[in-house]
């Protein structure tokens, strides 16, 4: 069996429970248990190899570019953890089946539990940094979802979010650390990294790597100052607390310390940081645990403290320290899991977890009480129990390892103090819960739990005793192989209950006696704690900073974005001015050197009119009609400019567009009567003037610079080729319908889309017809004055005639479908203005949208025609001589294209104007606005 299946089985198992729900809770639980058992068996199946000291490993490339590979390795350390995870997992499943309420169908619960289990197994088996990280974050996610299992309670949601933020955040730091580490080593394969210890420790990046990776480990293992998420995670169902938050997931952090022991340990920095943090956590956790009234709270802080102890041991960096660390890791997993289960049973039976209510349960559930007390004794480190042994080794390490030099005595002292606290809270747990008088108004009257619910606890307690009495026979071999995979060799050590009267034993005694004494004085102690102990906790700090960041975000966003278009435009201009000016500031001569062309009076006069008109538009923008006239005057001058500078096509187009635009604006004007003038703050006024002014001057300079530079251009080619090959004399037109014909196609497409968009915009929109204009003058009541229509009617055929003429002469002389379309449109518009839309509509019944579509299709079709002859899209028929002999095709293709253009243009114009005209249609005079979209 490939070791991958150890991860894969639970992963597939995660899908099993949700699928099984319809078959009832038992089946769901069994399916989870099955995959877990299988994973356990696969692990055992490899046991012989592992014990013979040869690792089992598998490797498969995944994403080489980021160094991610599916590399797995089952060495001693991994084996130890696989056993822990799957073994404890089995018992947890059994327990959870009874613990969770009968109405819970368990599908979601066991699904998530299996997902976690798979991820956790992944962490311990991964032999690739990124793969490890992948599983690492997966455990954070599954833990998030499991903590929030009882999602309707606020504490659950908050606890889950906090845990996620801290652990996933640590994961991100770890990612950074891994990337650096992989960069230094030159490989992301863990086995290669582990072999490169000296290289890494010598590297300047060692410190950042160390800190970043430790951030990952410490957040996960709830080390100070990140410890606070763990107590808040106690909102999770107790099986989860027992499994994730005491036995396995929180151990991932210390596992990481063990994993990277060969690479990162052995330096002063490592010792100071790791054991320093560990010691702090150890004492702090143990101290706070004493004051928790919530059983699970007490256990959580005790867990924190024990994790601190293990961290400290690894921090020492000594072989024996590592041994003791691993040993205590196993022991803690065992007795803490059983304690959580006991706590769960109590919670389950009494309906509360508050130790001020729960008293004297001995008389209700003596059997469970016995189990719990044995486990608690192990936690306190009482002889003949596993906790005692590892604690002794811990004490020993504190003494025989002098790393604080002069303050040598400090560490043992602190360690003993922590021991005192540990005994104190253990005693409190036992005494408060099972004795200490009668229960105080419990929600339910407790009694022994169902038989099978006790089995897991019994197993664990049995283990406590077994390991505690026969360590060498039970746990020793496991320890040996796992230590070997850390250190390469197994150091000389022996675990025994009786070392003779030695320093560690005295420390244990002090701890025990002191602890009991402390507990007897608890009333005073509580009082002192309430008075002196600082209230500010890491949790508060976290909540505060999260809130602060969110407030900051709100303020910033509100400040940047005031939802006002004017500001947006101002920013756009500001940015444009800034970045465009940047390259120009240094040594740029504006004048390009080409001799200027002479000025003449006419141009000057025209320019003068334009200036007046432009300024007039700005100044008189509130007299809208006048402003509009001014604008079209500007347009007129621009047209003249084109004429003057030998661009007849432009002039013609500009002129006709000018006309249409004006008509359009006039219509709009009718519906935009304007309103009370807005007061604008002084500085806004100057800001706008400044921006506009600078932009204007800048553009002028750029324009001048361009115009005065010697001209180099690809245009010579057009001039050279357009007659012989382009088949047209009007080079501009040839460029439009031939060289750059796709631009023209695109241009009419834009028209078509605009028409469609406008159609959609006006769809169902109704605007009230204002009876007066802004100056209060009454609009003319006679909508279609007679004289107007008298003039307009004969104009139409004329306009159409002109249109056809322009359309046909297009290719060689200025003109073409576009202008033709405009002319025709103008003719029709006159009709509408004169006689009204209904009148005109009655006389031509067509869907303009369809007309536009057809126009587009025709234009495209002419382009596709070239395909047939094996030429690229839009190749003009004139351009391949062998076809050009048939003059008809040439004419056909060119004209067809123009007809397409003509239809699109005409359709667009008519659609716009018709719909605009419709606006004022059947609208109730009173209501100002009514729009369909309100209803949809």
């Amino acid at each position: 069996m490939p070791i991958g299946s150890i991860i894969l089985l639970p992963l597939l198992g995660a899908l099993l429970p949700p699928l099984m729900v319809r078959h009832g809770r038992a089946v769901v639980a069994w399916s989870a248990a099955l995959v877990t058992a299988l994973a356990l068996l696969v692990g055992l199946w490899h046991a012989p190899a592992v014990f013979s000291g040869s690792d089992v490993s598998s490797h498969r490339e995944w994403i080489p570019m980021i160094g991610l590979a599916l590399s797995l390795r089952l060495d001693g350390l991994a084996f130890l953890f696989v056993m822990l995870i799957t073994g404890i997992g089995l018992l947890i499943i059994l327990y959870a089946y009874y613990y969770l309420p009968k109405d819970d169908r368990l599908g979601r619960f066991f699904g998530l539990l299996m997902l976690f289990q798979s991820a956790m197994l992944g962490i311990v088996l991964a032999d690739n940094l990124l793969l490890l990280l992948l599983f690492w974050e997966l455990t954070s996610l599954s833990s998030f979802l499991l903590i929030a299992y009882k999602s309707n309670t606020r504490v659950a949601r908050q606890g889950a979010r906090m845990a996620l933020a801290i652990t996933a955040g640590g994961g991100l730091a770890m990612l950074a650390g891994f990337l650096l580490l992989g960069h230094v080593v030159g490989s992301f394969e863990l086995s290669e990294v582990l072999a490169a210890g000296d290289l890494v420790r010598a590297d300047p990046l060692y410190l950042p790597i160390l800190i970043l990776i430790l951030l990952g480990a410490f957040t996960k293992s709830a080390q100070f100052p990140f410890h606070f998420w763990l107590p808040n995670a106690m909102a999770a169902p107790t099986p989860v607390s027992a499994y994730l938050h005491s036995a396995t997931m929180v151990k991932a952090g210390v596992f990481l310390l063990a994993r990277f022991f060969p690479v990162l340990s052995g330096t002063e920095t490592w010792s100071y940081i790791v054991s320093g943090i560990g010691l702090t956590t150890l004492v702090l956790g143990a101290y706070i645990a004493i004051f928790k009234h919530d059983i699970k709270g007490l256990l959580a802080y005790s867990t924190i403290s024990h994790l601190g102890l293990i961290t400290f041991l690894f921090g020492l960096g000594t072989p024996l320290g590592a041994v003791a660390g691993l040993f205590h890791l196993v022991n803690h997993a065992v007795f803490k899991a059983s304690l959580f289960m006991a706590a769960g049973i109590i919670d389950h039976e009494t309906g509360t977890r508050d130790m001020r209510q729960i008293n004297g349960l001995w008389s209700f559930m003596p059997y469970t009480a016995t189990l719990a007390m044995v486990a608690a004794a192990a936690m306190a480190g009482v002889p003949l129990l596993n906790g005692f042994l590892s604690k002794e080794m811990f004490f020993a390490e504190t003494i025989y390892h002098s790393w604080v030099g002069p303050l040598e005595w400090l560490v043992p002292a602190v360690a003993t103090l922590a021991g005192v606290f540990a005994v104190a809270y253990s005693v409190r747990f036992i005494h408060d819960v099972f004795f200490n008088g009668k229960p105080v108004d419990l929600p339910r009257t407790p009694h022994e739990p169902p038989r099978w619910m006790k089995i897991p606890v019994e197993v664990f307690v049995a283990l406590c005793l077994l390991v505690g009495i026969f360590p060498e026979q039970t746990v020793r071999p496991l320890l040996d192989i796992s230590v070997a995979s850390l250190l390469g060799t197994t150091p000389e050590y022996h675990i025994a209950i009786w070392h003779g009267f030695s320093m560690p034993l005295y420390m244990s005694m002090i701890a025990t006696v002191g602890g009991i004494l402390l507990y007897t004085q608890r009333q005073r102690l509580f009082a002192a704690h309430d008075r002196w102990f600082p209230r500010t906790s890491g949790e508060a700090a976290f909540q505060y900073s999260v809130k602060r960041i969110r407030d900051l975000a709100n303020r910033l966003i509100a400040k940047i974005d005031n939802e006002s278009l004017q500001r947006y435009v101002a920013w756009l201009l500001g940015a444009a001015i800034l970045v465009t000016a940047a390259p120009l500031v240094s040594g740029w001569q504006i004048f390009g050197g080409v001799a200027l062309s002479p000025l003449d009076g006419v141009s000057l006069a025209a320019a003068f009119i334009l200036v007046v008109a432009a300024l007039g538009t700005v100044i008189a923008r509130r007299q809208r009609l006048f402003a509009l006239i001014m604008t079209s005057l500007v347009g007129l001058i621009v047209t003249l400019t084109f004429v003057h500078f030998s661009a007849p096509d432009l002039a013609l187009t500009q002129l006709s567009v000018e006309l249409i635009t004006t008509v359009l604006m006039l219509l709009a004007l009718f519906f935009l009567p304007g309103g009370p003038r807005q007061e604008v703050s002084r500085w806004r006024h100057w800001r706008d003037l400044g921006l506009a002014g600078i932009a204007g001057i800048g553009t002028a300079m750029l324009a001048f610079a361009v115009m005065t530079r010697p001209s180099i251009s690809i245009s010579d080619y057009f001039l050279a080729t357009s007659k012989p090959l382009g088949g047209g004399q009007n080079v501009v037109n040839v460029i439009l319908v031939d060289f750059r014909s796709i631009d023209t196609l695109g241009e009419i497409t834009v028209l078509a889309i605009a028409a469609a968009g406008i159609f959609a915009l006006l769809w169902g929109l109704r605007l009230a017809v204002p009876t007066h204009d802004l100056e209060g003058r009454r609009w003319a009541q006679d909508v279609h004055p007679l004289i107007m229509s008298m003039i307009a009617r004969p104009l139409l055929p004329l306009a159409l005639l002109v249109a056809v003429f322009i359309l046909l002469r297009g290719h060689n002389l200025p003109g073409g479908g576009f202008i033709a379309g405009l002319v025709a449109a103008i003719g029709l518009i006159l009709q509408q203005i004169a006689s009204g839309i209904e009148w005109t509509q009655k006389r031509l019944r067509i869907s303009y949208l369809a007309m536009i579509g057809v126009g587009l299709l025709i234009a495209v079709a002419t382009g596709i025609g070239a395909f047939v002859l094996g030429y690229p899209f839009l190749t003009s028929a004139t351009l391949h001589p062998e076809v050009a002999v048939i003059g008809e095709i040439e004419l056909a293709s060119a004209v067809a294209f123009d007809v397409g253009v003509f239809l699109v243009v005409l359709g667009t114009m008519m659609l716009i104007l018709e719909n605009l005209g419709r606006l004022s249609g059947a609208s109730p005079p009173s209501s100002s606005v009514e729009s369909v979209s309100e209803k949809t």
């Binding site: 141009s603 500078f645 567009v657 706008d688 921006l691 932009a695 553009t699 300079m701 324009a703 251009s713």
Partner: protein, 111 residues
């Protein structure tokens, strides 16, 4: 002449932008129109200035640069489409927001 045209372009840009920065949709539309003129002139000017030399073969060189003219033609048409759209949008905005202010009148009513 170049200087004159350049300053005219500059003026049109300035006027256009100033109008675009106003709060009434109608002013903004006028501004966009003026800005359109300016950009077309600019693009046109990038082909340098040539008086009385239409790019018609047969009338003998030298010619005005035809390429910018073609570009401007396209730009004019597209510009028209855009202006038409924004005019109608202004109407729609008045219909939906009940005001001619580019940001609509009362924000609260929107929520």
């Amino acid at each position: 002449m170049e200087l004159l045209l350049a300053s005219i372009i500059g003026l049109l840009v300035a006027c256009g932008l100033y109008l675009i920065l106003r709060s009434r949709t109608f002013s903004v539309v006028l501004g966009l129109v003026l800005l359109g003129y300016a950009t077309n002139l600019f693009l046109f000017a990038s082909g340098r200035l040539a008086t009385n030399q239409p790019a018609l073969i047969g009338e003998g060189p030298p010619f005005a640069d035809p390429l910018p003219q073609a570009l401007v033609l396209t730009a004019i048409v597209i510009g028209f489409a855009m202006i038409a759209f924004v005019v109608v949008l202004a109407l729609r905005a008045r219909g939906e927001l009940g005001s001619e202010h580019v940001d609509g009148l009362d924000r609260e009513a929107d929520q």
